[in-house]
Each structure stands twice: as structure tokens, then as C-alpha cells.
């Protein structure tokens, strides 16, 4: 019985941590993965439908809400929605003004998108871990992991987007030559140390998106695992631990969204600066 329990617990955890994967399987062709090994066998040419679906849903929710507020925006006395939206916008504007030292009108909306989008995706975590897997199980989907930021693909994907912007703005502001010069001649300005500089700078450059993505993923994933473990406890003990952990996660959710946003601005600000 004890071994049974253990096996079912392991199965439960693995089940909750498996994404709904659609891809090309060597044996089954284009299909939904019915187990985690099948998902692994699909390799790179597969897509997590739940991650994509929920993240796009949250992004669309954000854009719809803010677009609605923008359409109704008056210069007079603002309503409730407009008030909230304006508060967020002012917060982002101040954050951008204090962190970003170049002149680029696109940085603030970029930061707004990142912040609210990640915040909404993280917030999905507050929904009890069994609701959506059960619901989608009834609908015939084997797996459903609703928090996109607990999928390393999602966080690294966004970080990769930020990375591309870093490269783009570095080349745009300093020119391709200037950017190459910065990579090869800092921190040691001598021709014989160019290879050393290159290695140092390129590692530094690549570490930026990876740390950005993994930080968010690590925090969210760890939190999710704890939620799943709490869900394994006896019925009467669940709420005792689940409620404090959820309340604590309100902080983590906001903080991680804020950190991702702020670091993105900092990296982009560095990309705009001449050394």
C-alpha cells in the first residue's frame, strides 16, 4: 500500500508537470504525446499547446483590457478601469524613466507588455492545481499545465525576444562596427587580447537572456511543485498550507514579473549606451 501510494504520488506529480505536447513522433506521426517519454521522443519539432494557448490568452486579455481603457480614455475624470490602467502605465513610465537612460519611446510599452503579460501568466498559478487538469481530462486531453511561466520554453522564449532586441538596438545605436568593437575591445583595450575579450563579452551577452529566463522559470516552477506537493497532503491539511503559500505567492508572482521587466529595461538601456 505504501509503495502504491508512492507510485501514485510520483505519477500525480509527473502528470501535473507534463505539458500537452503536439509534435511529430517517429512512430505515431503528428499527434498529441500520450506520455512524457513520447513527448521527449518528439524532440525539438513539437509544441506545448497548453503553454501557447494560455500565454496567448493572457496576452490577448491584457491587450484587450488596455485597448478598451485606451479607447475610453478621457482627459476628464477617469473611470475605474481607466484609473487602474493609468496607475499601471504611470508606474511603468516612472520605472522606465529611472532605469532607462537612452531616448526610445518603445521601451515603456515593451516594459508594460512584459510586466502585465508575465503578471497575468504567473497569476494563473493561484488557481488550484487540479481544476484545469481535471476539466481538460474530462474533455479528453491527457495533460494540461496552465501556468505558461512554469514552462522553460515560455520564459526562455520571452528572454530570447529580449535578447534579439538587445542585439538589434546595440547594432542600431552603435552600428555593427561599434558593437563588434565593444565586444572585442572591452574590457582590455589591446589587440592581442581580442580573443579573450570576445569570449568574455559573448558569454556575458548570452548569460543575460538565459539568466532572465531561468530566474522566472525557476521561481515559478518551484512554487508550482510546492503547490502540487501540498495537494498530495490529506484533505484537512491542504488548506492549512495552501492558503499561506498562495498568499506568499501573490508576492512572488508580482515580484518575478517586476524583476523580469526591470532587468529587461536595464539590459536594453545598456544596449543603448556607448562604452
Amino acid at each position: 500500500m505504501a509503495a502504491d501510494n508512492e507510485i501514485s504520488a510520483i505519477y500525480y506529480i509527473q502528470h501535473h508537470l507534463q505539458n500537452l505536447t503536439f509534435g511529430y513522433h517517429p512512430q505515431n506521426g503528428w499527434s498529441l504525446a500520450s506520455s512524457s517519454t513520447e513527448a521527449v521522443e518528439m524532440g525539438f519539432w513539437a509544441i506545448h499547446l497548453d503553454t501557447m494557448g494560455w500565454s496567448i490568452a493572457m496576452g490577448v486579455l491584457f491587450l484587450w483590457l488596455f485597448r478598451k481603457a485606451g479607447k475610453m480614455a478621457t482627459t476628464g475624470v477617469p473611470g475605474g478601469l481607466q484609473n487602474g490602467v493609468e496607475m499601471v502605465i504611470e508606474f511603468i513610465e516612472n520605472l522606465t524613466r529611472s532605469t532607462f537612460h537612452g531616448k526610445n519611446p518603445h521601451i515603456a510599452p515593451l516594459a508594460l507588455t512584459l510586466f502585465i503579460w508575465i503578471l497575468l501568466m504567473n497569476t494563473l498559478k493561484i488557481i488550484p492545481v487540479d481544476y484545469f487538469p481535471e476539466l481538460f481530462g474530462k474533455l479528453g486531453f491527457e495533460y494540461m499545465k496552465i501556468v505558461p511561466t512554469t514552462d522553460v520554453n515560455a520564459t526562455l522564449g520571452m528572454a530570447f525576444g529580449v535578447f534579439l532586441l538587445i542585439i538589434y538596438y546595440s547594432c542600431k545605436v552603435k552600428g555593427v562596427g561599434g558593437f563588434a568593437k565593444e565586444l572585442s575591445l572591452t574590457p582590455f583595450n589591446h589587440w592581442s587580447l581580442i580573443p579573450f575579450n570576445l569570449i568574455l563579452e559573448i558569454v556575458g551577452l548570452i548569460v543575460k537572456p538565459i539568466s532572465l529566463g531561468l530566474r522566472l522559470f525557476g521561481n515559478m516552477f518551484a512554487g508550482e511543485v510546492i503547490f502540487i506537493l501540498i495537494a498530495l497532503l490529506p484533505f484537512w491539511a491542504i488548506w492549512l498550507l495552501d492558503v499561506p503559500w498562495a498568499i506568499f505567492h501573490i508576492l512572488v508572482v508580482t515580484l518575478q514579473a517586476f524583476i523580469f521587466t526591470t532587468l529587461s529595461i536595464v539590459y536594453l538601456s545598456a544596449a543603448h549606451e556607448h562604452h
Binding site: 500565454s55 485606451g70 504611470e90 513610465e93 510599452p109 515593451l110 508594460l112 507588455t113 520571452m158 525576444g161
Partner: protein
């Protein structure tokens, strides 16, 4: 924990969301915010200007009031002076008129007296002559004397 296409998909979604936000979400809200900021600043400006205007107007009103009061007191003083002057003038005039009247009355009286004197003088002389005549006549004729007396009586 597999790295797969989701990574690319997420990057594309990210790019699209950011683009949409830059293009359609940020500008109207930001514009409204800044416009309201400007409006509030303008309002505050107008309020301070209005209060300055009010102060100025109050000062002006006080100034006008002060001037008016001064003018009024000036006018009053002038009027007082004028009235006393008029009274003085009237008194002088009345006195002069009275004196003139008295003088003319006196002159008339004097004239009258002189005329009466002249008349009397003339009459007395005639009377004396006439009396002397009569006395002279009576001593001659009693009858004529009688007649003379009657005539004298009638003449008196």
C-alpha cells in the same frame, strides 16, 4: 522539460504583443494621461492667475473707494465754503441794500423838507405881504377890513 518549438512560438507571440502594445495600446492612454496632466497644470495656472487678478481688483476697488471718499470730502468742504461764502455775500448785499435804502429815504426826506421849507417860505412871505396889505387896507376901510379878515380866514 523539453526545449522545443514552444520557445520560438513564445518569442513570436512576445513580438506580436509588444508590437500591438506599441502601436495601439500605449499611445491613446499615454496621450490621455499627458493631456490630463497639461489640463491640470493649466487649471492650476488659471486658478493662481485668477487669485492674482482678484487681489489686484480688490486693491483697485480699495483705491477707488479711497479716492471717491477723498473727492466726496473735498466736494463737501467746497460746498460748505461756498455756502458760508454765499451767506456772507447775501449778508453784505442785504446790508448794502439796506444802507442804500436808508440813504435814499433820508435824501427824499431831506428833499421833502427842503421843498416844504421852500414852499412855506414862499407862502409866509406872501402871507406877510398879504397880511400887511390887509392891515393897511383895514385901517382905511372897516368894511374892507371885515372882508379882508374873511378872506384871510378862508385862505388859511
Amino acid at each position: 522539460m523539453n526545449i522545443n518549438m514552444t520557445l520560438i512560438g513564445q518569442t513570436i507571440a512576445f513580438a506580436i504583443f509588444v508590437w500591438f502594445c506599441i502601436k495601439y495600446v500605449w499611445p491613446p492612454i499615454s496621450a490621455a494621461l499627458h493631456e490630463r496632466q497639461k489640463k491640470i497644470a493649466d487649471g492650476l495656472d488659471a486658478a493662481s492667475r485668477a487669485s492674482r487678478d482678484l487681489e489686484l481688483a480688490q486693491e483697485q476697488a480699495a483705491q477707488t473707494l479711497r479716492e471717491t471718499k477723498e473727492q466726496a470730502s473735498q466736494i463737501l468742504e467746497q460746498a460748505n465754503k461756498r455756502s458760508s461764502q454765499m451767506v456772507e455775500e447775501a449778508r453784505d448785499q442785504a446790508r448794502a441794500e439796506g444802507e442804500r435804502l436808508v440813504a435814499s429815504a433820508r435824501a427824499e426826506i431831506q428833499q421833502e423838507i427842503n421843498r416844504a421849507k421852500e414852499e412855506l417860505r414862499a407862502q409866509v412871505s406872501t402871507l406877510a405881504v398879504t397880511g400887511a396889505e390887509r392891515v393897511l387896507e383895514a385901517s382905511i376901510d372897516e368894511k374892507a377890513h371885515r372882508k379882508l379878515l374873511d378872506k384871510l380866514a378862508a385862505e388859511l
